[in-house]
Symmetry: C6
Subunit: 77 residues, 6 copies
């Protein structure tokens, strides 16, 4: 498998948030390998209120990890 | 994409809580890009008891991150 | 908006637990602004076993934050 | 309200686990004040597989807090 | 009640994982005291995809606690 | 039982993510011992949107543990 996660470090909190989204999607990708099935399911959860909230919960958890890894991007003096 | 998360630092716990809400909403926004669909779904989960509790759970998780980033706004002497 | 979260510090663990409940409710309040709708939904989840367990899960998460903020109310010598 | 949570400190991990169960139940108690309703609901979730797993998840979260408060009951030399 | 949790310390990560499973099961056992009911429910969630995923989530949370208690079994030099 | 978790340490974040997936699957394997049943259930959750999101949530939690164990693979100078 090619390298898709070389580091948890990011320059900014926003880039860290985008990495958290990527981490959330990779779990799905590595569980359901079929691109077509994933694509079909995507339209399901993206149009379902609780489905979207569940996704937001996974992103929040991964963002906890990324933020801690980056020491919350604190700029201490 | 424009900058929407320049920092996790906030002046007060309450501002931190508002940032946690923003973080929770952005995951939904970045998953379901269609404004109209999100607007329609919003009325669904906001009028559903368990849907609202799930939302509160996501906010709680993001608030953990923001609070830790701000060292819980402790004012140590 | 008025100040409702001036600090995460509390005198006792029990007061911290009450703050965790307040934090959990504010997420709901800030998502569903209509008092009447919330009141109606409240009777729904408060009489539903899994709904109550979900609420307890949100409170537990917020209590983690409040307890960490207060260094677990340890009285070290 | 009377004092039900004077401290998060316990003598043993097992006593800490029992406190985690107490914390989980208090959230339910403080959300649904009616003893009769809670009693009725209890029979519902205690005989439902996913309901019990959800309860176990809440206990696990509270145990994280109690265990951290007690520095995991380590006996370091 | 007899002692079932004398310590969170384990010799290896794998023994820690087994303890996390034990912690997850004890919450269920202490909520549903009837052995027969638990046995019946077990066949329910063990043959249900989402039920098993929920169980895995509880184990993951308890493993976080056990792993942190053991300082992740790091062998630092 | 043979050794399947000798350590939480990995060389890279990506290897840590793969370990998080392994940890998530072992909880399922140790709860449902029958290979055939698991195989059947797998096709169920892998083709269900919310089921996949739940799986992603478990992986995220285990990744938190693995990442913390590896001090987030920081290379500090």
């Amino acid at each position: 498998m090619e390298t898709w996660l070389p580091t948890l470090m990011t320059q900014t909190p926003q880039a860290g948030y985008e990495l958290a989204i990527k981490l959330s999607r990779m779990a799905v990708k590595l569980t359901q390998l079929d691109d077509e099935v994933r694509k079909k399911l995507r339209s399901t959860y993206a149009e379902n209120a609780d489905g979207l909230t569940l996704v937001a919960g996974v992103v929040a958890r991964n963002f906890q990890t990324v933020a801690a890894a980056n020491r919350y991007w604190r700029t201490e003096t």
